[in-house]
């Protein structure tokens, strides 16, 4: 529709440039990997038919499928309890549930391993595929809960009530609410599938061979970039296949009539509050509190370096980390918004495909491609500055942001902007006054989640961080080796507490900054 040529061109240019900055490095690496010395490197592709590689791909798929299904299921339950049911203590429970997502996965994995060894669990059970699935599920359940919660919030009470008139709650939930939640369910499924597919630390620590550890080995033991890059191409192809079901089921124009008649939100009174409350608490105790309590007890088990000393030791990296993570979350969310707008407005579905592709590339391959691309004299201003970290963040997380924001953007009826346009408002003004406020919740969610991811990102950042900058996950990770257990646990705790403080500040800031009065029910 009519947009002024100027702002549109500028926007497209900026978006294109940014996309190039993020996508080109990987494109170049893959191109070189596939076409070696003028011909297609067939043996790189046929390498996957090796028995071991096939087995690791099989493991990867089993883990990802199991983790994403379990997480979405559990996340859906929690999202319902937190957002649609009047569950006591839900705010505290919500925060507790989030804890595993706030720590780097290797810290959680080590904590669980300690717990299990302490509890005398048999070796064969610890170093196994189910253990990997268990740990990853505890990590990604809060992510699913978070995304699905946003989906619940956008369901108009009228739809549910219309159903309630005719049939039971159970029928309404399965026949009306769940189908309306489809975009949120799909989004969280895809995100978690890919995140667990490219998860390195947990399977590697528990010695479960997966495709990413296979790729990692090509890098770290054989320095074979081409083979690693080709294999990651195959990994991304697997991820792209995922988009087909999404396309098939979600192509129809599909939005919740946001303000059609009256936007109201329906809460459910639980008949028996105790059962779900106890179940939720049990889950949280057994999957969240156990490792955290274990970390705490390890920290204070031994005299010596005090907790305060650990805080002081980490203080410089805390500052750098926060600044860079906030900058990262801002940039990723800003471009998430731009790309969502482009995909929805101009039906540029391929943009999402490209971003998914970048997202699915294993972190280490992303790191190497960024080095190979940006480490040239002319691009040194990027490579030797924190810009390279911001680009790395974008490559890793832009897809997540676009997914969250575009889901929400699709729910805003075209008539809302058309009405403003009819009245002579300029496109940018419409965007600022109508679209942006309606996207507030999604933008906040995106910023919140991306910030958490940026604070914890290790695999790519450790490859590209400029000399002299210290980042929290890198510092903890590089100090973990050979540091006494209580210091390692202490550092993890400090990082955890610190992240919690930031998140609490954000939640508080949201209350002050965002006026969500219009969302409240009548």
């Amino acid at each position: 529709m009519g947009k002024t040529i100027n702002s549109k061109t500028v926007l497209l240019l900026v978006a294109g440039l940014f996309l190039a900055a993020v996508v080109l490095p990987m494109g170049v690496l893959l191109f070189h990997a596939i076409f070696q010395k003028g011909s297609v490197a067939v043996e790189s592709f046929t390498s996957i038919f090796h028995k071991d590689v096939l087995q690791s791909i099989g493991n990867s798929l089993i883990i990802s499928t199991a983790v994403s299904m379990l997480s979405v299921l559990l996340g859906c339950c929690f999202a319902f309890l937190f957002s649609k049911a009047t569950l006591p203590f839900s705010k505290a429970l919500r925060l507790l549930l989030l804890l595993p997502l706030l720590l780097p996965s290797y810290v959680i994995c080590v904590a669980w391993n300690d717990v299990w060894v302490f509890a005398g669990v048999h070796k064969n059970l610890i170093y196994s595929l189910p253990a990997v699935v268990f740990i990853l599920t505890t990590i990604y359940t809060p992510l699913a809960a978070f995304i699905i919660q946003a989906g619940f919030k956008n369901i108009n009470a009228g739809m549910e009530e219309a159903g309630m008139m005719i049939t039971s709650f159970k029928q309404v939930f399965f026949k009306i609410v769940l189908p309306l939640l489809r975009p949120a369910l799909f989004s969280s499924f895809i995100l978690i599938f890919i995140l667990s597919l490219s998860e390195f630390a947990v399977p590697s620590f528990l010695s479960v061979p997966v495709f990413v550890t296979e790729i990692f080995t090509q890098f770290s033991a054989f320095y074979n970039y081409s083979l690693a890059a080709t294999q990651s191409l195959i990994l991304t192809a697997i991820c792209l296949l995922l988009l087909f079901p999404e396309r098939k089921y979600l192509t129809k124009e599909y939005f919740f009539p946001f303000g059609k008649k009256a936007f109201r939100f329906r809460m459910y009174e639980l008949r028996n509050k105790n059962v779900p409350l106890i179940l939720a608490m049990l889950y949280i105790i057994f999957t969240v509190l156990v490792p955290v309590v274990f970390l705490t007890s390890q920290t204070f088990s031994r005299a010596g370096t005090s907790f305060l000393e650990i805080v002081i030791m980490l203080l410089p990296s805390l500052k750098d980390s926060v600044l860079i993570a906030i900058a990262g979350a801002l940039i990723v969310t800003l471009f998430g918004l731009i790309f969502s707008w482009l995909t929805v407005q101009f039906k540029l579905k391929f943009l999402q495909t490209i971003l998914l592709f970048v997202f699915a590339v294993p972190a280490i391959v992303t790191g190497v491609s960024l080095i190979l691309f940006y480490n040239t004299p002319s691009l040194n201003f990027i490579y030797s500055s924190i810009l390279i970290i911001l680009i790395a963040f974008s490559a890793r997380f832009l897809f997540i942001s676009v997914k969250i924001i575009s889901d929400s953007l699709q729910q805003i009826p075209v008539s809302f902007t058309d009405a403003a346009y009819m009245m002579g408002a300029r496109p940018f003004y419409i965007f600022r006054k109508i679209t942006l406020p309606l996207l507030g919740e999604a933008l906040f969610t995106s910023f919140f989640i991306i910030l958490i991811f940026c604070l914890n990102e290790l695999s790519t950042v450790i490859m590209v961080y400029p000399p002299g900058i210290s980042l929290l996950p890198v510092t903890i990770f590089t100090r973990t080796a050979n540091a006494p257990q209580h210091i390692v646990s202490g550092m993890s705790l400090v990082a955890l507490m610190f992240t919690i403080v930031i998140l609490l500040c954000m939640l508080f800031g949201k209350k002050v900054l965002f006026n969500q009065q219009w969302r409240e029910s009548r």
Binding site: S415, D418, A419, M422, A425, Y429
Partner: protein, 255 residues
Amino acid sequence: MYAFWKKGFIQSTMEREPVIQFINCTKLFDGKTILRNISFEVNEENTFTTILGKTGSGKTTLLRLLAGLEKLNEGCIYINGKTVSEGNKIIVPPYERNIGFIFQDLALWPHFTVYQNIEFGLKQKKISDYKSIIMQTMNEFGITDLKDNFTHQLSGGQQQLVALTRSMVLQPKLLLMDEPLANLDVKLKTQMRKRIKQLAKEKKISIFYVTHDHKEAMEMSDKIILLHEGAIAFYGTPEQSIYSDNSFLKEFIEV
């Protein structure tokens, strides 16, 4: 051939200058024809035209073309003798056509209060003292008390009035309404119909009113357009429609 034809048309407009004119308008969506070679004209000001048709017959698209929210694929649209859309170009953008649009879902912005909703358009027009205009119009529609409410706090009828007020403060010459009463109960519907009809008379505006309710069309219109699968199946006054033996019209009324 098209150019030649157009030339002939321009000469003819010198004599009559209809209020609204569609000439051979065709609109495609994803290769599917939504409107096929539509031509009609509305000759007098202050005409209430109803567009009737089943779901998917192209009613809404016709309105959106007239509003300038969609481009044509072929043909021309004229308002007061001025070309507003031609071929696949929008000549006059929607906001310069002096048209009010009431959307099917009303498109009341949920994050604005009633007052802010109404104020929005006036702010764009850079009118200095618009407050008095708003207060006066809100008074006319009897919604002054609602001014600080969010729109979801209103009843269906109240929302209807807010949407009308929002359009009317901009003093349009032409008001397009896309099934605005679909969500109201029968009693309210009757009330609102009267209100709209009265409004059209008072303000001397032309109205294009989309509905699939045949009775509504008979009761309110000066002219009826019946769309069938993207083409005009009938165009005339309500009286003419009663005596017409147009098969599409008959079929439509029976349903």
